[in-house]
């Protein structure tokens, strides 16, 4: 059939007016996926590359910590609690230990508090370096992974030399800190303290971490492609962030200067000067940059703490079988991922009656459904990566 001008004109208009009928595909960014930071499943309704709505499904990693802690004694809980956010193992124990000490009315010796503070800040550096390694990898750049992890090895070696463990240090006890030695007649009399040369090694390691931060900044920060992929992507306004309970670097990247290290007193942070890093427009780039600056702040804190660490013993007088008196308290701390808190209800027994664990990533990714509305598939990965969550923290 010959196409006369009439039909041609009609066809051209038809193609303009006819809306292309495409049904959308449900894409399972499933529990097993290279960049979901663990077993998170996103059921995304996708039309081509644009995804309409995302329904996150969690619970694959639910270990039931709150039920477990009802049948555990206090020392046993400190060993399982650092497995909640396994990237920053040491920091999970601090609020729980401080809560128990508060109920028991224990005075922790100064040196133990300083050691706790140094190790917490080192764990924060290690956790942020994991973010520095994994986030550019999600955008496609593989080399920053090795720079960041190479520096993280330094910090983890220091942690291991003091506590004996890299991921799960188990160095905190109720009343102070203590390496895992037997408590028999001979070893009990052994003096217990930091290993020799630890303070000097930490000073060198902190300088190297600062250099690595600058190197990472050169490699990633100025890169135009990363700017194109992250600037203005996944913007999180402060009021939405606060309503969902987003905390930590994600909240500070949206302009809210809220850092629990400044407001709470679970560790002697008021003796060191460091500033709370914030950024203006709360997009992926700001979340990345806030974490890089926080590494530098933590380096500053650790250096000040090392120079002014007092001497003294590491643990207060604590009975062999720990029984925490009756009472309820909620202690929260600034975990590398955000606010981590424990609502401890104890009834005077060897274990708590009820322990509510408030983990940072749980609230941080409850905004996924809101923030991933109508963006492209590669941006889903970029935004999810920038929130820096760990599935153990989400599922408890």
């Amino acid at each position: 059939m010959t196409l006369d001008s009439e039909t041609i004109r009609h066809l051209s208009e038809a193609s303009v007016s006819v809306e292309l009928q495409t049904e959308d595909m449900t894409l399972n960014i499933g529990p097993q996926h290279p960049s979901t930071h663990g077993v998170l499943r996103l059921v995304a309704r996708v039309d081509g590359e644009r995804c309409f709505d995302v329904h996150p499904v969690i619970g694959y990693m639910h270990r039931g910590y709150e039920k477990l802690s009802e049948v555990r004694t206090y020392p046993q809980i400190t060993t399982i609690v650092n497995r909640i956010d396994w990237v920053s193992g040491y920091c999970n124990e601090i609020p729980f230990i401080v809560a128990a000490e508060k109920l028991m009315g224990l005075e922790v010796p100064e040196r133990a508090q300083y050691i706790r503070l140094i190790l917490t800040e080192m764990q924060r550096i290690a956790s942020h370096l994991v973010f520095m390694a994994s986030y550019p990898l999600e955008l496609g750049a593989a080399t920053p992974l090795f720079f960041a992890l190479r520096e993280r090895e330094r910090v983890l070696d220091l942690l291991e030399s003091v506590t004996g463990g890299r991921f799960h240090p188990n160095f905190n006890r109720i009343g102070g800190v203590k390496p895992a030695y037997a408590s028999g007649s001979t070893t009990r009399k052994l003096p217990q303290d930091l290993p020799a040369g630890f303070l000097q090694d930490s000073r060198d390691a902190m300088d190297k971490v600062r250099e690595a931060a600058d190197e990472l900044e050169d490699l990633v920060a100025g890169n135009e492609i990363i700017l194109a992929r992250t600037k203005g992507v996944g913007v999180l306004p402060p009021e939405v962030a606060v309503a969902y309970g987003v905390s930590g670097p994600n909240l500070r990247a949206s302009g809210v200067a809220f850092d629990l290290r400044k407001t709470e007193n679970y560790l002697p942070y008021d003796r060191f000067d460091f500033d709370v890093v914030t950024a203006e427009n709360g997009d992926c780039w700001d979340r990345w940059y806030v974490r890089l600056q926080e590494i530098r702040e933590s380096v500053k804190i650790v250096q000040q703490a090392i120079d002014s660490i007092p001497s003294g013993d590491l643990q207060a007088k604590v009975p062999k079988v720990i029984k925490v008196p009756k009472g309820e308290t909620y202690v929260r701390a600034e975990n590398p991922k955000g606010e981590m808190g424990y609502y401890l209800v104890s009834d005077g027994g060897q274990g708590p009656y009820r322990l509510k664990i408030r983990s940072a990533s749980f609230s941080n990714i409850s905004i996924l459904r809101w923030i991933l509305e109508g963006i492209l598939v590669p941006d889903i990965i970029a935004v999810m990566g920038s929130l820096d969550f760990v599935l153990g923290d989400v599922d408890r």
Partner: protein, 335 residues
């Protein structure tokens, strides 16, 4: 050359068989060398050691070991895959690469077949692998490979245009489309065309990176989003085809770029008769320089989102290439 060898080669079928055998040997060899170079160099860039144990001291046999591994891997075809399409996709991609070897001049008379439409043929054949990738994406019956395949289609076609337009500049300067002719034109002009055609060379390299779908144009095989893009369902020797095709394609596209812009097998100071033997070595060093640049880019940059990728192709590269053609044509007329 002893007598019986020349008349043996003069027989058409024997020389054809010999050439085919040579190409069939070159593809895995070149693929392995470049693959091994990528592993070792990327390791050094990341302060690691890289493959170390295969083959004694510094791991030279790593890729042979990989090859054997891929061969003995189970050749899995997904249940509801489109079987014939699934099977022929890797072959098509490899054919697209092998066919490119025909026109590359390694020396003054060391060329498989000197077509007078050499450049046109090379670019047409290299787009054959696009069809192969699309077939792989569609036939794997997996949502991720489908998305990878469609992304590849969009990207490769978008970058076909700048690739072709970038070449037109040096074709105008040389006056002929046969690659041998272009190299002779550069010899007689006394300078490699890149001196004038640096814009064309830049566009060609960027478009070549996109043709190979290597970072920063890595959308079709975006490991962190689409698991492995259109390669997700491939395993065993079919994956080996894709693997070798990617590295061999790097070699061929760099060889074509070297021939068109950097003076192929000729260096400014080298006299005529030495070229007979030095030609291939010169070309291969140029190719390895370009391949090193590709490896270097891959381990430094992240990848573009595909709408940014398309914008670069249509908004930046195509107009720039057209401008380059106009300027070269004007220069040709005036000079």
């Amino acid at each position: 050359m002893p007598g019986w060898v020349t008349d043996l080669f003069s027989n058409f079928w024997v020389s054809l068989g010999g050439k085919l055998l040579l190409v069939a040997l070159m593809i895995p060899l070149v693929g392995m060398i470049i693959g091994f170079a990528e592993m070792k160099l990327s390791a050094k860039m990341q302060s690691r050691v890289g493959p170390y144990f295969a083959g004694g001291r510094w791991g030279w046999a790593q890729l042979i070991a990989d090859g054997v591994k891929f061969f003995q891997k189970e050749d899995l075809i997904p249940a509801d895959a489109d079987r014939p399409v699934f099977k022929t996709a890797p072959i098509l991609v490899l054919v697209g690469t092998v066919a490119l070897f025909v026109v590359i001049p390694f020396g003054p008379n060391l060329i498989f077949r000197d077509l007078d439409v050499g450049v046109f043929y090379a670019l047409a054949i290299s787009s054959l692998s696009t069809i192969g990738i699309l077939m792989a994406g569609w036939s794997s019956a997996n949502k991720y490979s489908l998305m990878g395949g469609l992304r590849a289609a969009g990207q490769l076609i978008a970058y076909e245009l700048p690739l072709v337009l970038a070449v037109v500049g040096s074709v105008i300067l040389a006056g002929t489309m046969s690659l041998q002719g272009i190299v002779e034109a550069q010899i007689e002009a006394g300078y490699p065309f890149v001196v004038i055609q640096f814009v064309g060379f830049g566009i060609f390299m960027i478009a070549a990176l996109a043709e190979l779908s290597r970072i920063p144009f890595d959308m079709p095989i975006a490991e962190s989003e689409l698991v492995m893009g259109y390669l997700t369902e491939y395993s065993g020797f079919r994956f080996l085809f894709f693997f070798l095709a990617e590295f061999a394609n790097m070699f061929t596209l760099s060889a074509i770029a070297a021939t068109l812009f950097l003076g192929g097998y000729w260096l400014p100071g080298v006299p005529e008769d030495v070229l007979e033997f030095a030609g291939p070595i010169i070309l291969i060093t140029k190719v390895f320089l370009l391949v090193f640049a590709m490896i270097w880019f891959r381990w430094t940059f992240p990848r573009f989102r595909e709408d940014q990728l398309q914008r670069i192709a249509w908004v930046w590269l195509v107009p720039l290439a057209l401008l380059n053609i106009v300027v070269t044509a004007l220069l040709k007329v005036i000079l």
